[in-house]
């Protein structure tokens, strides 16, 4: 698997989009902190949507607001944040693809991100079909709490891993 990633990274480095991303990051004053801030603001939207819903389902936050209503109201913020995250994140990755391909924390981040997004989609889609889906039986209520707890841990893990990519660079630098 790591070979596949480094192969992809090497072919990306032949592409004009790599040259363009690298040019933006190296030559436009303030571009790196601005693009990173866009990425962090996207995380803010994740916190105010799916993470808040997780806390609500766990009985910790927003006591007077209904879960189904919250899902309906907050989840669009997450789905709008994700493309912004992909664009800002890809700009950084395309500029230095090999740096990320050889960084195990980068892989770890996506290993947690994919199930986190799938759990959010599961929760949202079932709530669209039936707003009370997760409240119809005690078994479902327990399942909803387990999903929320796992989702919360995964999102915290994604944020931590995202921050640690830069630290892992010192340990796994290859470029």
């Amino acid at each position: 698997m790591p070979h596949v990633l480094t192969d992809i990274a090497r072919s990306l480095m032949q592409s004009p989009i790599h040259t363009f991303a690298l040019y933006l990051l190296s030559n436009v004053p303030g571009f790196p902190p601005v693009i990173q801030t866009v990425h962090i603001l996207g995380v803010t939207a994740i916190m105010a949507s799916i993470v808040m819903i997780d806390l609500k389902v766990l009985g910790l936050a927003l006591p007077s607001q209904g879960t189904a209503e919250l899902v309906h109201r907050l989840m669009p913020w997450m789905w709008w944040a994700l493309p912004a995250q992909a664009i800002s994140g890809l700009t950084l990755v395309l500029a230095r693809p090999l740096r990320y391909a050889v960084n195990p924390v980068f892989g770890l981040k996506f290993t947690m991100l994919v199930p986190a997004i799938l759990l959010a989609a599961l929760f949202h889609l079932t709530s669209i079909k039936d707003p009370l889906f997760w409240e119809r039986s005690s078994g479902r209520r327990v399942s909803a709490r387990l999903i929320a707890g796992l989702s919360l841990l995964l999102w915290v893990g994604v944020v931590f891993a995202g921050r640690w990519i830069a630290y892992a660079d010192y340990l796994f630098a290859m470029e």
């Binding site: 902190p33 962090i40 995380v43 993470v51 927003l62 007077s64 109201r73 915290v156 931590f160 630290y167």
Partner: protein
């Protein structure tokens, strides 16, 4: 002791060395980022409500009441972890332009919040349920939004300056 002596003194603390020379620094920084995004996320929920852009069917006071505990808890952890990072290179950070701007924006954001909670929010009880809030409340929401985006941008910029 004057302020000029304070920064090297902070750096000379055993705690500063313990954080700066170990995995404590990245750990504290990760917690700082996590709680800062959560803190700003909880504030955005209120700001967007004040601007009439979200949660318009909920009274403003209810959105405020249910998010403020999270905002405060996240602030406390952000400040503690931020101080832990700060003391490792205090004299470097006080000279860092991005750090200086971040602190000014933080103070402004805090003042903005205080004015809103102490004055504006009290005067709007009679229209708590209204989707469209008063001009003062919308101003508070918009300025809070801008100030916190500024805090994050300046905060992220600190590491790019040497």
């Amino acid at each position: 002791m004057s302020l000029v002596d304070l920064w090297p003194w902070l750096e000379s603390l055993p705690l500063a060395a313990a954080i700066g020379e170990s995995w404590w620094f990245p750990l504290l920084e990760s917690i700082h980022v996590l709680t800062a995004t959560f803190l700003v996320g909880s504030i955005l929920m209120v700001d967007l409500r004040l601007l009439g852009l979200a949660a318009t069917t909920y009274p403003v006071s209810r959105v405020v009441r249910e998010t403020v505990p999270w905002t405060y808890s996240a602030s406390v952890i952000s400040v503690i972890t931020g101080l832990g990072l700060f003391i490792t290179r205090a004299s470097h950070y006080v000279d860092n332009r991005a750090f200086q701007i971040k602190l000014v924006l933080l103070v402004l954001a805090g003042l903005n919040m205080a004015v809103f909670h102490l004055a504006t929010a009290r005067g709007m009880a009679h229209r708590d349920d209204a989707a469209m809030t008063s001009t003062g409340a919308r101003f508070a929401g918009a300025s809070s939004l801008l100030l916190w985006v500024g805090v994050m941008l300046a905060g992220r910029w600190i590491g790019h300056l040497n």
